[in-house]
């Protein structure tokens, strides 16, 4: 199958999934007992004001009608306006998506760059000293609550040691942000040769990235170790030893044969990490998509919540398409399907 046909088929398969996602989030926010009207109207509003807001938002219509209107808008690419800020949800999400992707990229990237080699090394000597040590470490990474880790890191590295800047967002208040090209201060700073901005952005990135890397590396270590141990006990590796392949070649063989399951795992992990992202962004006042979604949920901003969940679903689908394609490139047994 050609790549175009694969993409087309995937896109067609995604449509019913997306309708389901839209439907479920749409209904869930409405039966959740949140009342955005009271919040918007304020404590001194009269019943007439209440009714007019309710009417304006269309919340007085029957649910099926609200849903069909919303679905129609979504199909046309209109995610509606935020009820709190009156800004277009799509614009809000677009602006914030890059910010969150940057954090996710560095966090999971470093998590994988550390986690995969560590997991492999642990697998080459199961129950050795290194394995035992990393097992304890990854247990920590698994069990520490993310927001607590973030708070402790701020406390230690900003308050006690003074090594890191305050957790007030993506850039120091004393530095003017660079001209917008991609939306990432770090990349834009480098592209426009605004080195002070790039430096400030980088130093702000360090703590949240480390935090996310710790959280993502722990399961990567565990999975990589399990996958590599299975490959090491396979007929292929035994036969490679019987053929007298030097240790270096055998390790390469193990790495190559572990790559597909490890990549698939990291793909699923990325999509699962968006929830963790919300908490990290919140603690570091990051202002990305995760924080946006969390705020929308807390304040009952229905259109924003719906838009947020829909975009995350699209993101997950994209991640899996990319993973499938990469697997197709490195694994001769696989087919695009």
């Amino acid at each position: 199958m050609t790549f175009q046909r694969f993409l087309l088929r995937r896109a067609l398969m995604v449509i019913p999934l997306m309708i389901g996602v839209v439907f479920i989030t749409f209904m869930l926010v409405r039966i959740g007992g949140l009342d955005p009207v009271g919040r918007l109207a304020g404590p001194t509003a009269t019943q007439a004001e209440f009714d007019s807001i309710r009417n304006n938002l269309g919340l007085d219509q029957p649910l099926w009608k609200q849903f069909s209107i919303y679905l129609g808008n979504v199909v046309r690419g209109d995610l509606g306006e935020s009820w709190l800020s009156n800004r277009s949800v799509l614009t809000d999400i677009k602006e914030r998506a890059v910010i969150s992707l940057e954090l996710l990229f560095w966090g999971v990237g470093i998590g994988a760059l550390v986690g995969v080699p560590v997991g492999l090394r642990a697998a080459f000597r199961p129950n050795g000293r290194f394995d035992q040590f990393t097992r304890v470490l990854s247990l920590f990474g698994f069990s520490i609550p993310t927001y607590w880790l973030a708070l402790v890191m701020i406390f230690v590295f900003f308050y006690l040691l003074g090594w890191s800047p305050p957790a007030i967002g993506r850039m120091s208040l004393l530095v003017t942000p660079p001209d917008m090209i991609t939306g990432s201060y770090l990349i834009d700073g480098v592209l426009t040769a605004r080195w002070d901005a790039a430096r400030s952005a980088a130093s702000q990135l360090i703590l949240p990235v480390i935090c996310l890397a710790i959280v993502s590396a722990a399961p990567i270590i565990k999975q990589t170790r399990a996958i590599a141990i299975e490959v090491l006990s396979s007929d292929t590796v035994r036969y490679a030893h019987a053929c007298g392949l030097p240790e270096r070649n055998v390790r390469k063989l193990v790495l190559r044969n572990s790559a597909v399951p490890i990549l698939t795992y990291i793909g699923t992990e990325v999509t699962g990490l968006v929830g963790t992202m919300s908490l990290i962004e919140y603690v570091f006042a990051w202002g990305g998509l995760g924080q946006y979604g969390l705020n929308a949920i807390i304040s009952g901003d229905f259109t924003a919540v719906q838009g947020y969940v829909l975009v995350l679903a699209v993101f997950s689908v994209l991640v899996f398409i990319v993973i499938d394609f990469v697997v197709y490139l490195i694994e001769p047994r696989s087919e695009l399907s």
Binding site: S233, S234, D235, T236, R238, Y239, A240, H241, A242, C243, G244, L245, P246, E247, N249, L253, R256, N257, I330, E331, P332, R333
Partner: protein, 334 residues
Amino acid sequence: MTLLKVEDLHTHFISRDLDNQICIAKALNGVSFSLEAGRVLGIVGETGAGKSLTAQSIVGLLRPPAKIVAGSVRFEGRELTDMPDAELNRIRGNNIAMVVQNPRTSLDPLTRVGDQLVRLHQIHSGGPKTASHKRALEMMEAVGLPDPESRAKSWPHELSGGMAQRVLLAMALMNSPKLLIADEPTTGLDVTVQAQILDLLRSLVARFDMATLIITHDLGVVAHFCNDIAVMFGGSIVETGSVRDVFAAPAHPYTRNLIAATPERFQMGRAKALGGQPPDLYNLPSGCVLQSRCAYATELCQTTVRNAEVAEGHFALCHYAGRLEEQPAVKINA
């Protein structure tokens, strides 16, 4: 000079049970044999007798908890048991080649067949890549793979079991080994393909003049293929000798039962099943390992057995070797 000499090889599985007590399964108990250049030796025995473990011990492929605890393996006069891995890797796949029983899962699934052949030749013999490539095509031709040029571009998962086994044979031949170890090379194949592979193996052994150690549970393979036979039971070689001598006059009760239990004899209505359990390797009896299953067993069998030479070059590990009655020893229950 003897090409391969295995002397008093003991391999144990050493593990700890739930109470953290050390448990030892004595899987090989003093295996000794030797193999001259150009000879074909067949090792037969039932499952769990230690055939494959013998092969793995020879080439140092044991994985924990298996461990060689005593004995020596000499290949061209060099001791293999205490050789560092890096040095052993220069012998494995080069002077000693192996053919294993799961060809399809043993090949590297992510490398084309031809590239695997070339890689093996490059690692051991070096030289220009084009020469390795040429040799790979020659060897694929020699093992009867049709259209080697296009087969070389196949992925392992595209091969049938028989073709994969031919590829493994080609892999084994790449570096002109002096010793070929074939560990149940025809187990997982169809009967017709088994015959083809065995015929191929026989012609290759003659053509490339390799000493060959073939491990099988099929006496027919040994009878048609080998010069010498070693019968294993309970981690010991209970009888060795030339195929002609052993088949004509089996001196060990176990060998007698084994020969008596071949399917051909069943069809003639003359054989009884070879009954009984393999011995408990964690708790071997003193003396003969077969005593609980042997029709001739007496109190003498509880004492240490020595190899007795019943004819020239024909040994049996039995107190009564050469003194048994004519009939096959039968004792089904154990």
